[in-house]
């Protein structure tokens, strides 16, 4: 491994999030090395989405978030986006009455504001990655199918050239073939050096592409380790993967 991959891009320690008096996350520690793909898996209600929302600053949290050499204590969303954090939320949050192209361009808003004019090039790269979006660039985002919306949401987040891309359940509601396509894109992005934090229900596919994995249960980290090891861990297999999971193996191939 090179020096760059050794650097911690994201370092979270003792993160607490509460909805009123109910604690959703209690003392989460998580690190992500630059250039790595880390996945967080876990059952429904484990706090996966809450974790991403807290890192992004959407939810107020206690604890320190160390990102790209700076400490953030309960920061706001816009500041973090400015520092190179990107989130593809579970709800996608597209600008449904605006065109696909406008959605993508707005992803580069921070770069435009800073006077970085090279976003046209990124736009072309994204169209190359998702030819479907190019075909539909003049169409309103609200008219897209589920898979296309997911592509648009990922493309829009990539327009800001984030240092760390966080994805919340990118395979939610998608047909298996499209899921496979999207996971292939994550592997591509990782090989281009984009760091990714992936939250997934589709545990087998996620473990297949990831370098390192955390298992979240009841608001706490239940297990962690290199993804390949976790995928063979009997406890994980029993709880999340199941034995007859050949079809899922196909998804991530």
């Amino acid at each position: 491994m090179t020096q760059a991959t050794e650097k911690n891009l994201l370092d979270i320690s003792d993160l607490h999030v509460a909805y009123g008096k109910v604690e959703a996350l209690t003392g989460i520690d998580l690190t992500l090395k630059e250039g790595n793909l880390v996945t967080v898996i876990g059952p429904n209600g484990a706090g996966k989405t809450t974790l991403l929302s807290a890192i992004m600053g959407i939810l107020p949290s206690k604890g320190t978030i160390h990102f790209n050499g700076q400490d953030f204590i309960c920061p706001n969303v816009e500041t973090l986006v400015g520092h190179g954090l990107g989130l593809v939320p579970e709800k996608r949050e597209l600008f449904s009455t605006m065109s696909v192209q406008d959605n993508l361009l707005l992803g580069a808003f921070q770069r435009y504001r800073r006077g970085d004019k090279s976003y046209d090039q990124t736009l072309n790269e994204i169209y190359k990655l998702f030819p479907r979006l190019w075909e539909r660039r003049q169409q309103q985002a609200g008219t897209l199918s589920g898979g296309e919306r997911q592509m648009l949401a990922i493309g829009r987040a990539m327009m800001s050239k984030p240092k760390l891309l966080m994805l919340d359940e990118p395979s939610l509601g998608l047909a298996p073939l499209i899921t496979r396509e999207i996971f292939r894109i994550f592997a591509d992005l990782r090989s281009q050096g984009v760091s990714i934090l992936l939250v997934e229900q589709n545990a087998r596919a996620a473990l297949k592409v990831a370098d390192y994995a955390y298992v979240l249960e009841g608001g706490q980290i239940a297990m962690q380790g290199p993804a390949a090891e976790l995928a063979n861990d009997p406890k994980v297999i029993e709880a999340y993967l199941g034995l007859a999971s050949k079809h899922q193996e196909l998804l991530s191939s």
Partner: protein
């Protein structure tokens, strides 16, 4: 009614309609981006007109004290918040910049002989004085309530309107004022004499409407404001701050309001409280557009101007009633046609 009267009324209606269209567009703009019904918009109209009139009479407009007061409160809050958290160099620079701006404007207002400088300079000074009040008002009264329900925002908006009318009385006094027209020449179109101010109003309104359209459809900043209106969380995730969007729309509304005031000041005598009825007619236009459609709102507002002008001829006592009654059939039509769309994606 003969042809000549009809064209005169039409000219009046079109002039007022153009102003109502501008106001309707800014009401719509502010509403879609921030969910606030900007009732105090009319006060920006009167502030613009009365400041201009004060300048032409050679008096220093007392509105400068309002600007200074608001800037001081704003800066004090900024500094207080930074002491509570941590001190940010860039933000301190912004505070210094804001204070410097207010001081420069006040120095200019007090040292120039305001009645003698060219009219374009008077207009520029008036705009420089009033436009910053918009974003500061957003920051002081609406930003802390950004997540409040629309009804709360409406109540604050009404309170703000009443306060600003009071401030207007305090700063400008109860006398009405009228300003000199931009140019004295008239144009003859067949048998009808067109006042040059009418042309100014129509041309500037069209220019502003087209400029707004281009800004919102073609530039990324305009798209960012629209995006905030479409999906607030989505916009935040792209780094578009709703606070920035709110301030920008309030600045635009203050600009359009005061520009409208400057445009109509030579045509009608305005008092400290005339703004409300003017912006209310813009609001009727915005309602016709269902508070969503810009083109329909603009056309509706021009129609309001026309109907007002012609009802002045036939039933001048009832002209306001006729204009505001117009809203009822449109509301009925709107409520019949509207269906609630739950947008969960």
């Amino acid at each position: 009614m003969n042809f000549q009267i009809a064209t005169l009324l039409g000219q009046d209606g079109l002039t007022n309609g153009a102003i109502y269209a501008l106001l309707a567009l800014s009401i719509l703009l502010v509403f879609t981006v921030t969910r606030i019904l900007l009732i105090p918009l009319g006060e920006f109209v009167t502030f613009g007109a009365l400041t201009m009139a004060a300048m032409q009479m050679g008096k220093t407009p007392k509105l400068e004290w309002l600007l200074l007061g608001l800037v001081l409160i704003d800066c004090a809050l900024d500094i207080y918040q930074q002491i509570k958290r941590h001190i940010d160099r860039n933000k301190m620079k912004m505070v210094a910049l804001k204070l410097g701006y207010a001081v420069i404007i006040i120095a200019l207002l007090n040292n120039l002989s305001l009645s003698e400088i060219p009219m374009i300079a008077q207009i520029a000074l008036t705009l420089c004085l009033i436009v910053p009040i918009g974003p500061i008002i957003y920051r002081l009264f609406f930003q802390p309530l950004a997540d409040a329900p629309a009804l709360v925002l409406l109540i604050v908006s009404i309170a703000l309107h009443v306060t600003m009318v009071g401030v207007g009385l305090l700063l400008f006094g109860p006398e009405g004022a009228r300003t000199q027209p931009f140019s004295d020449t008239g144009f003859r179109l067949g048998a009808v004499l067109l006042k040059s101010q009418t042309l100014w109003v129509i041309l500037v309104s069209i220019f502003l409407i087209v400029a707004l359209f281009i800004a919102f459809e073609r530039t990324l900043y305009g798209k960012a404001l629209r995006a905030t209106a479409v999906n607030r969380m989505g916009a935040r995730l792209q780094g578009i701050s709703p606070i920035f969007a709110g301030k920008a729309t309030f600045a635009l509304a203050a600009f359009i309001g005061s520009a409208s005031g400057i445009l109509i000041a030579p045509i009608t005598t305005l008092y400290y409280d005339s703004g409300f009825i003017i912006s209310l007619k813009g609001f009727v236009g915005a309602i016709i557009g269902g508070l969503v459609s810009y083109p329909i709102a603009a056309i509706g507002a021009v129609a309001v101007g026309m109907i007002e002008a012609f009802s002045m001829f036939w039933a001048s006592n009832y002209k306001e009633i006729i204009v505001f009654t117009l809203i009822i059939p449109f509301l009925i039509w709107r409520s019949m046609n509207s269906h609630n769309v739950e947008d969960d994606e």
